[in-house]
């Protein structure tokens, strides 16, 4: 790393830390999900990007060089469907195998875990349940349970990831979060399917509650284990099924909220900030989140959640990220993107506590991503 990029790395990391810690940085930090966009921007296929480390890293390098965000959204790593099953315990459709080469991979939620598996799951926790279901989850991999055990014991693939992480540092790019996991409630939903989980909750709520509680212990271990060794102490928890878009507030209060609190508290003990990746409409759920400890979480929201209410209810308690969405970056114009980003800065980032985050799909217009980043860097400057 030369002194220039070393300085840049430090400056960017400090900017992010200030925003996350509810202090006022020099300007609003800005990041962008690069994994869906950069392969197309670099004229390679999605399949090449997922399977060829050199090509993937060249695509990332060009993205960071051309757009200069403040951090990488996630660490660069090749796609491994066996590794991915830890965070997404469901069937998967892959480009080049089940889908065209330039398609994104897709998760297929189905009833992999049966009703009769609950008692065992409640007793044995998430990882052992997952291992038990692996032949159904990854039927295409022979000896899948043995391979999975070897992978987690020997940390296969982690050397390459470490090298990629170092490369990013040489480019002056910090990493926003490491080791993202789905929440215990969301993994249960993926294994049971949404509909079946609804029925389970209505028919046997205590059993669901106890299972989620047991799963939480394993998910915490995985989350801390993925994050702590890297020294990047921001861990994302995917909350895809917890919002009012999927379940009632009563169910949220009884099952999801205690689990979120437990994860946040466990992360705090390890000095880890929890990124609550909130899919769907969280507006009705926001008041509950005021119960979380101040300055220890990042609320990552999309455009389904009301930013004004988020600010009013939680603005003094947690940092926000997000909300420059795929459709705006694709169908919008630089002017529209600029206007939206200015509103986000005015509402969510008044005195700090906001990290602008774009979600760029493959078809996003490069000029729109540039408009987002420039707005954060110019309009987002805080006056001393």
């Amino acid at each position: 790393m030369n002194s220039n990029t070393e300085e840049l790395y430090k400056e960017r990391e400090e900017r992010i830390k200030a925003a996350v810690g509810l202090k006022t940085p020099d300007r609003v930090p800005v990041i962008c999900t690069e994994m869906d966009f950069s392969w197309k921007y670099n004229n390679i296929s999605q399949l090449e990007f997922m399977t060829d480390n050199d090509k993937m890293m060249r695509a990332y390098e060009r993205f960071y060089k051309d757009f200069q965000p403040d951090a990488a959204y996630s660490e660069p790593a090749l796609f491994d469907s066996l590794f991915a099953v830890i965070g997404s315990p469901c069937l998967i459709k892959l480009p080049g195998r089940d889908l065209p080469e330039n398609s994104v991979f897709q998760l297929v939620e189905s009833e992999i875990m049966k009703e009769e598996d609950y008692k065992r799951a409640k007793r044995r926790g998430y990882i052992l349940t997952l291992i038990n279901l692996l032949p159904k989850l990854r039927p295409e991999i022979p000896d899948v349970q043995a391979k999975f055990n070897a992978m987690i014991q020997n940390q296969i693939g982690s050397e390459l990831t470490e090298l990629n992480r170092k490369k990013l540092k040489e480019w002056g790019i910090p990493i926003w979060s490491i080791g993202g996991m789905e929440s215990p409630f969301s993994v249960l939903c993926l294994m049971r399917s949404y509909e079946k989980l609804v029925f389970d909750i209505y028919r046997n709520r205590e059993l669901v509650k106890e299972t989620v509680k047991k799963f939480t212990q394993d998910i915490i271990r995985i989350s801390i284990g993925g994050c702590k060794p890297s020294g990047i102490l921001r861990a994302q928890i995917g909350l895809h099924r917890e919002s009012s878009s999927s379940f009632s507030l009563k169910i949220f209060e009884e099952i999801a909220l205690p689990m979120i609190k437990e994860i946040v508290d466990a992360h705090i003990k390890e000095d880890i900030i929890t990124i609550l990746h909130c899919d769907g409409n969280w507006t009705p759920n926001l008041p509950y989140l005021a119960e979380l400890p101040k300055g220890k979480c990042i609320l990552d929201i999309d455009d389904s959640t009301d930013i004004y209410q988020a600010r009013d209810l939680l603005g003094d308690r947690m940092c926000f990220s997000g909300n420059v969405m795929e459709r705006l970056l694709t169908f919008g114009t630089p002017k529209k993107v600029e206007d939206h980003c200015k509103e986000l800065i005015d509402v969510l980032g008044e005195n700090g506590g906001y990290v602008m985050k774009g979600e760029a799909p493959a078809q996003a217009k490069p000029e729109n991503i540039k408009a987002m980043i420039n707005t954060a860097k110019t309009y987002g400057v805080y006056k001393a």
Binding site: D36, N102, S244
Partner: protein, 210 residues
Amino acid sequence: MENELFKLFVELREKDILKVVTDMLDSGEDPNIIADTCKKALIEIGQLYAKKEYFLSELVMSGEIFREVMELLEPKMHFGSVSEEKIGKILIGTIQGDIHDLGKNIVKSALKGNDFEVYDIGVDVSPEMFVEKVKEFEPDILGMSCLISIGWDALKDTIDALKEEGLRDKIKIILGGGGVDDEVANYTGADAAVTDAIEGVEQCKRWVGI
């Protein structure tokens, strides 16, 4: 008994509902009246959903309970005794390259509950297949589900293919799912885009003049 059944149904008390329905059938109650009461409860649940007092989980559970009730009633119903009148024909499917079907299935149940005739052609449906099925089924409305951004071009290709075949102007087209909004409707040439099942049903009802 009907009032009690209505109340229990709105509260989604599954076991109690099934017991009351069984008792009503045992005492000789007309299964059509029982079905009507449950349908009224479903409408009430839809209204509670619109008022944001109920959520998707309650809509899904109410659909499941209704299915269970109908399983009890159907053997005792006389063929043709339930109203067969449909208010419109809808063809629905998930767009090419997208294999998600949760939202589509919820919309399908809600449409059926509102007396639409629904023809579901599944997931990952090619533009050619949509065209073929529109010709075959001659729907009033075509509903296309799309959750992911790669589906936008497939939506546009499908609507373009319908235009080429001279079918576009004969139908209304509604997009549904987490991946669509008015911008996507404009880009693809659809008539409407919704992210909420009940909102989608209401739009379809307006189109068929209800």
